[in-house]
Amino acid sequence: MMTSLAHPHTHSEHSAEHHAGWARWLYATNHKDIGTLYLWFAFAMFITGGVMALCIRAELFHPGMQYWQPEFFNQLTTLHGIIMVFGAIMPAFTGLANWMLPLMLGAPDMAFARMNNWSFWLLPPAAALLLISLFVPGGAPAGGWTLYPPLSAQAGMGMDLAIFSIHLLGLSSIMGSINIITTILNMRAPGMTMLKMPLFAWTSLVTAYLLIAVAPVLAGAVTMLLTDRHFGTHFFNAAGGGDPVLFQHIFWFFGHPEVYIMALPAFGIVSQIIPTFARKPLFGYVSMVYATCSIAILSFMVWGHHMFAVGMPATAQLFFMFLTMLIAVPTGVKVFNWIATMWQGSMTFETPMLFAIGFVCLFTVGGFSGLVLSIAPIDTQMQDTYYVVAHFHYVLVAGALFSLFAAVYYWLPKWTGFMYHEGRGKLHFWWSIVWFNVTFFPMHFLGLAGMPRRIPDYALQFTDFNAVASVGAFCFGLGQLLFFYNVIHTIRGGVGPAPDKPWEGGNTLEWEVASPAPHHTWESPPDIELVRRGLIAQAVEHEEEGDAR
């Protein structure tokens, strides 16, 4: 009886599974196939954005103009930002949510399988529009990923392509979010209450709500920009009575929660991995849930800290400054809970755990530099310098990206049915963490010394640190080929078949299905005893609580 309750579309909506070859992917409605598509798309975008980053670092290796015209350099920085945020990190997290949520929640699939297909297939055209913009007259948008007018209002047609691309990306995100929220709220296995869900499900849920709240606001902002450019409106045009600063307010009303859209799923992943390899339940599960929700709520109220240098009354500066500092409290709760989880645990350091610990350490560094920037008088000095570049790369590369690497290594055995090569995985981690720091740590000093961001040339005193950062970037980039090789090697058999439960400390439901996870799982929702066993192991339910049922 529960079977049909949990998966009403099993037979009608999986006709796509009969397709073979390319049609299997084009018509995919299975959450695992779509998750795989998302992850490969994100990886392709990661490489594309990464190559752009290397082009940027090549130019900045020496002072003076070497390889690119300044206009093209600006296009590279803009596209690198947009592609990494909207093309790589966000789809990767959606891909993980697609792959793992039904497995972790005991659901047979996502709630809306066909919409899931749509939300993925909007992404390739969006990416194509962005890349095509490089080849149109005037080139790609060159006003930075924030697309501030008046620069963006005056740019060539590449800007229009970017606006349409953002519309498609936003639509995809909203559809993906609706799917995630509906799946989590309506399709959990019996016995799994909200406060007993794996933390990755919680962070995915909160992230999806954030996206529904802010992605349309960005869509509104770029639509206003579009009508300003072509239809005579004056939302942001000062000559017509508009205000370019309004764009900044609207953009950052989206943009700051967006930062947490890229951070919260990472928190969820790390909260799954650390307990597994510490062989201890997650410390303070409920406080982690509340911290996640607090961060999400606070993220709506702090957008002004991106605009301290715009000119703002002192009262408003103080308001945004103190609220921004306040976010350090729930974030600190999370960091201390992860450390407390590891404390006196029987820890082993397989690759996912290494990446998770790397995440905790470096994300904390990024958090602290964020705390520095939250102080209005300091931010006024640091605005648009490399200190900011260093800060957000510590958060987004060592934060979001490292958590994604951790997730891939953690779940790869479940996805492929094969174990990856542990030595190569560890090499990937150590290589990445060393060269990441070589790349981005010097940027703190460059920023403190006053080097502006988004410039193709710089004063001579910045040469040494820039050279170091460029060497680091190229080595870091090279290391990602090792990651690619690792994944391909694992798909082709790796070092041998993976057991159903490759990690002894894994207690969540995905470890109860075979490796590789069959095309259809949880056709019947997991037995309530199975769910309870996992919940007890994760300490979100207690033995006596279970007996009472």
């Binding site: 009886m1 049909s4 309750l5 949990a6 009403p8 579309h9 709630a111 809306f112 919409m115 909203i174 979010s177 609706i178 929220i181 509906t182 709220l185 309506n186 399709m187 529904i212 709240a213 802010v214 992605a215 349309p216 606001v217 960005l218 869509a219 509104g220 902002a221 206003m224 939302f235 000062a238 009575g241 205000d243 309004l246 307010h249 609207i250 009303f253 009354p313």
Partner: protein, 177 residues
């Protein structure tokens, strides 16, 4: 059983519709920020492009202040230290200068408004600060400034200060002027 299947589908669809509606509302909210923003800035008095203005006749307290550089043997006193300016009207203020030495001194007065925005609301029609001047030994002189007040005054300003700094110049500079 079939009815329960449908009910789950319906439950999902209902939730999806609500979420889609929320997304749509947030799209509208993005647009609504435009009028909100203008109203909010006006409310806080930080709208620099279109400052909120009262109708003619509103009053503004104008204070006159003087500073004399230490090396100058001259005293300066505002005879009308505080005036009330009415929108569209004029303000006249007198200052008394006295040379305490036997020597001729050459001077100029540098005006400054606080807040700076007041400079746009109080235009100097006539001012002793327009030209440099000389004061013979022990001479005492009354000088004047006449300000034209703007037609509309922002209520949040309340008071404005016009401050003069008296500085010594070379006699050559006086002749050059």
């Amino acid at each position: 059983m079939e009815s329960r299947v449908i009910s789950m589908q319906q439950k999902n669809q209902r939730l999806a519709l609500k979420l889609a509606l929320a997304a749509l509302l947030m799209f509208g909210f993005g647009y609504a920020l435009s009028p909100f923003y203008a109203a909010f800035c006006q409310f806080l008095g930080i709208d620099r492009a279109n400052a909120s203005l009262t109708s003619a006749g509103a009053a503004l307290r104008v204070e006159f202040d003087v500073n004399v550089a230490p090396e100058i043997p001259v005293t300066m006193q505002a005879l009308d230290g505080v005036q009330v300016a009415h929108a569209g009207g004029q303000v006249r203020a007198r200052f008394l200068l006295r040379n305490e030495s036997d020597q001729t001194v050459y001077l100029r007065a540098l005006p400054s408004f606080a807040p700076v925005r007041a400079a746009g609301l109080l235009q100097k029609l006539e001012c002793f600060c327009f030209n440099a001047m000389s004061l013979a030994g022990n001479e005492q002189r009354e000088v004047t400034v006449v300000l034209m007040v703007a037609n509309q005054l922002p209520p949040e300003m309340g008071a404005a200060t016009l401050s003069y700094s008296l500085q010594k110049i070379d006699p050559g500079q006086l002749r050059a002027m």
